[in-house]
Symmetry: C2
Subunit: 196 residues, 2 copies
């Protein structure tokens, strides 16, 4: 391992920080798909095994670098475990729980970033489409998986915009059950229902 | 009329520009509700009648100052004119037509502004909630008008996010009929259907 040590910082934390910097640069330059674990480790001057050690996978590194507070490797199996007819409800509830945790601050920062930087939009687009929504839809929908994933994206992103960015009442402070009751049927139709 | 003249600019255009500057300052300082036509005209040093002359109303001045490419005074009566059971379809189609016009550039600029400035978020929140969606919902929904307006906001804002900001396919370049078929039923339920 060749990570540089600075001051009294422990070597492990240093490796992690150097990897995050390198990942952000690599994802920005090449997009989510184009970036490789090998290239990121190369930029950071550490062994590629360190990515697995600290982040589990390229996905884990991506969510850490983008400061997204969920790891799809843990999240998706949990969402898919249960009645497919109630998947929409679990998606809405998970989204609310994750983003409510810091009062929507992370969501707002993400929106600010993607609306200001095409590179951030490109990374998030690929990540959301192929990794998060793509995997969920692939597990339940027989037809139009890409359209279904994008439609789910509209409802989830829009809920975040209204609740955390615009802070429009009564949705800004509605309890989870109220939001789920109103919005879960939309997600469920986008996931498994008729689209036309 | 006391508008200043600068160079060869015609006096009328000058009045309009001075009013737009004054409106943006007043809306930023006091929010949509708190701002008054009289105070804006006062800031601009012109007679309040000039607001009606150039913008028709406070709403018209707001949409011009925020560079929103629709005037609710013209838009809303047109949306409400027709079968209430197909209002969701008309809302989606209008949104697509307006924002597609410059390839979503105005929508993206608006999102960038509201995610970066609390004052912009506050103005847009009041405007969207009370003026645009508020009026539409009030005309068709017997119950929960504020929740319905906010829910409509989630789907419309989310469609814009995915189509124009993230540019996620296939929604980024889907034709209007495809988008309307998939999304209009959601708007229709939020407008007039059961919410739980």
């Amino acid at each position: 391992m060749t990570a540089r040590r600075r001051g009294r910082r422990p070597a492990g934390e240093d490796t992690r920080a150097v990897l995050l910097d390198a990942a952000l640069s690599e994802f920005t330059d090449r997009g989510y798909e184009g970036a490789t674990v090998r290239a990121i480790a190369g930029r950071a001057g550490v062994d590629a095994a360190m990515v697995n050690h600290w982040f589990g996978s390229k996905d884990g590194l991506f969510v850490a670098a983008m400061e997204i507070p969920v790891n799809p490797d843990e999240l998706i199996p949990r969402l898919l475990d249960g009645d497919p007819a109630r998947l929409g409800e679990r998606v809405v509830r998970t989204f609310l729980t994750v983003w409510d945790a810091n009062d929507g601050g992370t969501f707002t920062a993400l929106i600010r970033s993607v609306s200001s930087h095409e590179s951030a939009a490109r990374m998030l687009r690929e990540f959301v489409a192929r990794i998060v929504l793509g995997r969920i839809v692939a597990a339940v929908a027989p037809d139009s998986p890409e359209l279904r994933a994008a439609l789910c994206g509209t409802q989830v992103a829009g809920l975040g915009m209204v609740r955390y960015v615009l802070r429009l009442e009564p949705l800004a402070s509605a309890d989870h059950d109220t939001v789920v009751a109103a919005i879960a049927p939309t997600l469920q139709r986008y996931l498994t229902g008729p689209l036309s």
